[in-house]
């Protein structure tokens, strides 16, 4: 501290210094109070917005535990007498199959699709990010172009193609294109991620005797892991929620995935058993939510860093 500001300094009268000290203390206190108030406002606001966002979900869970008549009678989301009736009856469905069957169908689509996406997109992205080959620029440009193409445009040609292949009413149209790196978005995302990773490690691996495939497998994939987890999560959630795809290609009830099965219970029941529908909706949401929360850490890492830490 500068010696001149000490109270004993004859140049400064004692009360002067005291006054200054008091003033600065008051200012600090005011600042602290302001900060606290703004923090309270901030949190209140965030909580309110968060609540509004989550309200439908909370309501959904509450309503799934109500009886069918209470859903419309009681506007609050806490049921008077919670019952699992909706879950038990809803699980049975009005078809010969239980919901377990539909979950299994969804799994049969999601599993090859996610796995295939991870493998094929990694391979394609590795090629684009690390190798020079004739026509690379044009190929990459067309990849980006497909990214910008609206989905609807390709629906009909795709349908005709799959019909000619005899793939209608099977799971193939739902996962095969993705498993062949058909999702340009994921390829693009991985290419960007790879570009941010220095090549030194791969060069070291080549000097160590690894061929391109070994380098990919032992060096690139582990470094790419956060991005790959994001890709798998996105693919998982989007497929879980996909309604249009199955609606177009699947026609027999025994092949319905969960998303279609939910719709099924609305169609066939004359008097809608809303509590059953809501209960099954909760179950349909559960896998995505659980997976997301389990993998949240990697997921955020994957989409935000896009590179390696030092």
């Amino acid at each position: 501290m500068d010696a001149r500001t000490t109270p004993s300094d004859p140049l400064f009268r004692d009360d002067d210094t005291q006054e200054m000290l008091a003033a600065s203390r008051a200012m600090a206190a005011r600042q602290l109070r302001n900060e606290r108030i703004s923090a309270i406002i901030r949190y209140a606001l965030l909580t309110a917005v968060g609540f509004v966002m989550l309200y439908p979900l909370i309501w959904l869970i509450g309503a799934s535990l109500k009886t069918n008549s209470e859903i419309f009678a009681n506007p609050g989301f806490i049921p008077d007498s919670p019952t699992f009736d909706g879950y038990v009856k809803g699980w049975q469905t009005s078809t010969p199959y239980t919901f377990a069957h539909f979950f299994w169908n969804t799994f049969l689509i999601i599993f090859p699709k996610t796995l295939g996406t991870a493998i094929s997109c990694t391979a394609v992205a590795y090629g684009f990010a690390r190798f020079d080959f004739p026509g690379k620029k044009i190929l990459f440009a067309s990849l980006i172009a497909t990214l910008l193409l609206p989905n609807v445009v390709t629906r009909i040609p795709q349908y005709l193609l799959f019909r000619d292949l005899g793939w209608l009413d099977s799971f193939m149209p739902l996962w095969v294109p993705s498993a062949l790196a058909g999702d340009a978005f994921f390829v693009f995302m991985l290419v960007q991620f790879l570009r941010a990773i220095p090549r030194d490690m791969e060069e070291a691996a080549r000097v160590d005797g690894a061929n391109s495939f070994q380098t990919l497998l032992f060096i690139v994939v582990p470094m790419l892991a956060p991005a790959l987890i994001s890709v798998c999560l996105f693919q998982f959630m989007w497929t879980m929620n996909d309604f249009l795809g199955p609606l177009i290609y699947i026609s027999s009830v025994d092949k319905y995935p969960v998303s279609l099965a939910l719709k099924l219970s609305i169609d066939t029941t004359e008097a809608f058993e809303w509590n059953r529908i809501l209960a099954m909706s909760v179950l349909a949401l559960a896998p995505a939510l659980i997976v997301f929360f389990l993998a949240q850490k990697y997921f955020i890492e994957g989409i935000s860093t896009g590179g390696v830490k030092g």
């Binding site: 060069e203 070291a204 691996a205 080549r206 000097v207 160590d208 032992f218």
Partner: protein, 376 residues
């Protein structure tokens, strides 16, 4: 355990930039060759062509008696240490070291033994179960060194391996690498080394021979002593030595008993120097004198250059005098005691270059024209 030969090696990058202009270099078996030069002179490019990480646009790389131009890096019998270590971030030190052996399908027990052996030599045994991000720079560099060593390659390639370390660590790593090289030689497993650096201290202290490069061409290849005492051209003369050699442009007259004229002053260089000049007649020349080879003499001594002290740097045991010779600035190094004894009242002094250590360069071509009889 093999010699390395570069024959008319060329590199043209994809953007048509010619980085390497047909260089020839022989590195003998067990030799420690240092590639040195300013930034951008294609040291890394050359090294990467030897390693196989960069395609070769022209010429040949031979390791032993094989032309390796078309071999994959892993098949060339080389190992490389990178500037920023390039350790595999997701692997423990142990796996980093043995990755190359794993790729060669070496049995696990042998691999483990080799890893222990290398870890012992480099004193990194306690680090084997750590991840690269848990290592300090020096430790990471030792692991990188170990990863090269474990493969028992024929040629070691280093690309500025110490430039990310602090000065002290750099000095100790330097010694460690030289020791290792010597030890391998004593054990009868001499390692051929190509070591890239832009640090001349590293080059001078480590190299058996040094290859000085400039803009994709080799300027001189020689052992450290010869490089210092017999620089082949202006570039090498200016690049090697610290503080830098003083290079003074002027005119050389009277070739047998040469007199050098510079900014209105003349200094006689002596018949001895005249005898080693490979020069027919008077011409423009650049005279090079190392700061250590200036002698401060009395004002009335014949043969000397008068100047004014512009600036003095104390370095402890010696003093750098920056002297203005009327247009040309030179640096002279004198001992601290000598400096104290100096009469500095006028700020003027007279410098006499030590004739035996003078170099004369053709100003136009930059060639050293005073080498013909200078003792090797």
């Amino acid at each position: 355990m093999a010699r390395l030969q570069l024959r008319n090696l060329e590199k043209v990058y994809g953007n048509q930039f010619k980085a390497v202009h047909g260089i020839n270099l022989d590195v003998e078996e067990g030799e420690f060759m240092v590639l040195v030069g300013p930034s951008g002179c294609a040291k890394s490019t050359t090294l990467r062509m030897i390693a196989g990480l960069e395609t070769i646009s022209g010429g040949e790389v031979r390791i032993g008696d094989r032309v390796v131009n078309d071999l994959a890096p892993g098949k060339r019998g080389i190992a490389m240490v990178f500037q920023n270590y390039a350790l595999y971030p997701h692997m423990k030190v142990r796996s980093n070291l043995s990755f190359g052996l794993r790729i060669q399908n070496m049995p696990k027990a042998e691999r483990e033994a080799a890893t222990q052996e290398v870890a012992r030599i480099l004193e990194i045994e306690e680090l084997l179960d750590r991840l690269p991000k848990q290592l300090s720079g020096g430790q990471a560099q030792r692991v990188a060194l170990g990863r090269a060593l474990i493969k028992k390659p024929e040629v070691f390639l280093f690309d500025e391996p110490l430039s990310n370390l602090d000065a002290k660590l750099r000095a100790s790593m330097r010694v460690r690498i030289i020791d290792l090289h010597r030890r391998l030689k004593q054990e009868g497993k001499p390692a051929t080394v190509v070591y890239v650096t832009h640090d001349q201290t590293e080059a001078m202290t480590m190299g058996d021979r040094i290859c000085v490069m400039k803009e994709g061409r080799i300027m001189q290849v020689a052992d450290p002593k010869a490089l210092y005492n017999r620089p082949a051209n202006l570039f090498v003369a200016g690049f090697i030595g610290s503080p830098e050699m003083n290079l003074m442009q002027g005119r050389l007259e009277d070739v047998s008993d040469p007199v050098f004229r510079i900014d209105g002053q003349a200094v006689a260089l002596g018949r001895e120097l005249g005898a080693r000049l490979t020069l027919g007649s008077a011409s423009d020349a650049t005279v090079g004198v190392r700061p250590q080879h200036f002698e401060v003499v009395r004002g009335d001594t014949d043969s000397g250059l008068n100047g004014r002290i512009s600036h003095v740097e104390f370095m402890g045991h010696e003093v750098y005098l920056h002297v203005d010779l009327g247009g040309v600035r030179v640096v002279a190094v004198v001992g601290a005691a000598e400096y104290e004894a100096l009469d500095r009242s006028s700020g003027q002094l007279r410098l006499r270059p030590n004739a035996a250590s003078i170099h004369v360069f053709d100003t136009a071509s930059g060639e050293n024209i005073s080498l013909s009889r200078l003792a090797a």
